[in-house]
């Protein structure tokens, strides 16, 4: 397994956000995690009405306000200043997480440290003993949203695969991820495997497999481990 640098190859962060946005259907209620997922809001195709939920009590989250119009009491889960769209509603935390836990959020887009081929997600802790752990709403979101999309760089900063056979970091949830969007490719997580949906430009299958810690399945080709030789 080589550690690809893939500078200027594959999709940019904005490309990934655009790919995710394109897959969100009209009328969907969507929660966006902190980090890369946040930029999805900027790429919803014209004509589609998507309502964004932020777990700190707002359905109908709008974009960041113009400079000087920030309201410290109107923030998102990442504690950034946001706005409220026409038709928004505010509610308390228990109601907000009832919405999440009860399966009402159509899609939640989250970042990842690791995703396994079973759909297990690790994105909250690196397991250091003396650092205060922080989970926020991630475990609630993965347990509750109808679909979990992951938006992530394909590899860690040190070049290690984030898509793996089994997660080694503490789990956020088991068998929860349905789709993964990286700079190299898009995968469905299905039947305990990463099924390739789309390959980024300038990424070949060999490079993709070399940078992935689990076998990639090409739909229509039943056997695992074959991807690299196609």
């Amino acid at each position: 397994m080589t550690t690809a640098t893939n500078t200027a190859m594959g999709w940019s962060r904005q490309d990934i956000a655009r790919k995710i946005a394109a897959d969100i259907p009209d009328g969907a209620f969507v929660n966006l995690g902190i980090g890369m997922p946040e930029s999805v809001v900027n790429h919803i195709p014209d004509g589609r009405e998507v309502i964004f939920h932020t777990e700190n009590g707002l359905l109908g989250m709008g974009p960041a306000p113009p400079a000087g119009e920030e309201d410290p009491e109107l923030i998102n889960a990442g504690k950034r200043h946001v706005t409220a769209i026409t038709g928004a509603s505010f509610f308390h935390h228990a109601d907000s997480f009832a919405m999440i836990r009860g399966g009402h959020i159509d899609i939640c887009v989250l970042g990842a440290m690791q995703v396994s081929q079973a759909g297990d997600l690790a994105n909250w802790s690196i397991g250091e003993a003396d650092a205060a752990p922080a989970v926020g709403g991630a475990m609630d979101l993965v347990a509750g949203a109808k679909q979990i999309f992951v938006a992530t760089q394909h590899c860690t900063k040190s070049g290690k695969p984030k898509l793996v056979e089994s997660i080694t970091l503490p789990a956020t949830g088991l068998a929860v991820v349905s789709r993964v969007y990286t700079d190299m490719a898009i995968f469905d997580v299905r039947n305990g495997a990463f099924e390739l949906v789309e390959l980024a430009p300038d990424i070949d299958l060999q490079t993709l497999q070399d940078n992935t810690g689990a076998a990639i399945i090409i739909p229509g080709h039943a056997e695992a481990g074959k991807a690299a030789s196609l």
Partner: protein, 236 residues
Amino acid sequence: MIHKLYDSAAAAVADIFDGATVLIGGFGEAGSPIELIHALIDQGARELTVVNNNTGSGHVGLAALIENGRVAKMICSFPRTANSTVFPDLYSRNKIELELVPQGTLAERIRAGGAGIPAFFTATSVGTQLAEGKELRQFNGREYVLEHALTADFALIKCRSADRLGNLVYNKTARNFSPVMATAAQTTIVQADKYVAAGELEPESIVTPAIYVDRIVAVSTPLQESDLVAAGAQYP
């Protein structure tokens, strides 16, 4: 006559005792009752168990309460944020206890505490470290973990307007945990941007009914935590 208005934050928090469990509203600075927290620092109660989603920023508000050595244990979902050094530092030196709870489970445990539900099942955290040692049970083929209600001696919360009877409305995402916290404490203490006559709040729009509120302090121009942090302020 119902009379819940207190002259000062100091008077409203005077009887918070050493070892008390205190729910403190707010998600980051939004909804943080900073004047009540500062009054609690002045008051001096120690060995507190504090429930808040976070652990404060800079050296004011909740972070200052912790920094001044008043908090033995934090129950929260996200003890690390930008400008948060007090708690992480104490934690790394084993000087403060942490009970980490997923955010939605934290909110629901508080709601359960106020609603007379001693325990409930949730799928959140199943299969993770945070479910270790807890009772698991299957319902309809899915696994759930049993979580227990969280109640407290006091709640300190902030709202936009409080009326004479104790009805409350909040401001935008500053609402967050406060309405459920108001239900789960023996004594709920509120700082209100505005104190108004009964009848000034629309009955259909009241978020916290009067029954949950014990004490009100009017703080018409509350300090803003982020301003203080940006200015490098320290309390006291």
